[in-house]
């Protein structure tokens, strides 16, 4: 299968590329494209950087009130 990819296609494959979720032939075609395309390489690097910054975020803490509700539910269940 000849798979010459253009930029418009490559940018849609970047997330799967980073997750190693592409079939081998598509992955190879993406790599061929990236090797010759500074724009798509830039977008790839920005995805990677954005993902790593996303990983710096934390979830909102569980509020004590929520925890109390659950503890009450467990107690109710244990004595039912």
């Amino acid at each position: 299968m000849s798979t010459d990819l253009v930029c418009r296609q490559v940018v849609e494959l970047i997330s799967d590329y980073l997750d190693d979720a592409l079939p081998a032939d598509v992955r190879a075609a993406v790599e061929v494209h990236l090797a010759g395309c500074d724009g798509c390489t830039m977008v790839l690097q920005e995805f990677r950087r954005t993902i790593s910054m996303t990983g710096m975020l934390t979830e909102d803490d569980v509020t004590p009130a929520q925890r109390d509700i659950l503890l009450a539910a467990f107690r109710g269940w244990a004595t039912a």
Partner: protein, 185 residues
Amino acid sequence: MELVDKLTPSMRRVARMFVSSDAVADEVVQEAWVGVLKGLAGFEGRASLRTWIFRILVNIAKGRGQREARSVPFATLAGDDLDAPTFDPSAFDTSGLWSTLPFDWRGMPDERVTAGETLAVIGRAIASLPPMQAEVIRLRDVLGWSSDEVRNALDLTDTNQRVLLHRARAKVRAAVEEHLRSVNP
């Protein structure tokens, strides 16, 4: 209780996708934890524990949503733009090559890029995504779950998990680009 603290915020959000109110979502989460305790002896360890817990939760939430006659279409949760390109088509020429490159922030100093402001932009971008896109990126990129875990936990096909994640990441990347363009001196 550590696991309860860790998983409950995501569980409430996921439950809320399928039911009509925060209060009902809380009930679903409680019911799910009770179900987890009851079923724990039968947990076979084929899936990760958190995936298994989410499957119990999603089953209860979907059942509850149906009883409320609140069947939420997948497109509402996932977003109705799944087939659309994630990059502005006008950035490419007719042969599909770049005609206008995105703003290049690779040369910006790290402390400028990774500032609290940028992280806040990412947080807001995630919060404004359609619910299922938001949840997939939270579980994958904020909490670090694997794609298999997320697909199983949220009862998604492999393809849907990947499409939702790519779309979410692309929007977050675009929000970061827009922000950094605006603060670049």
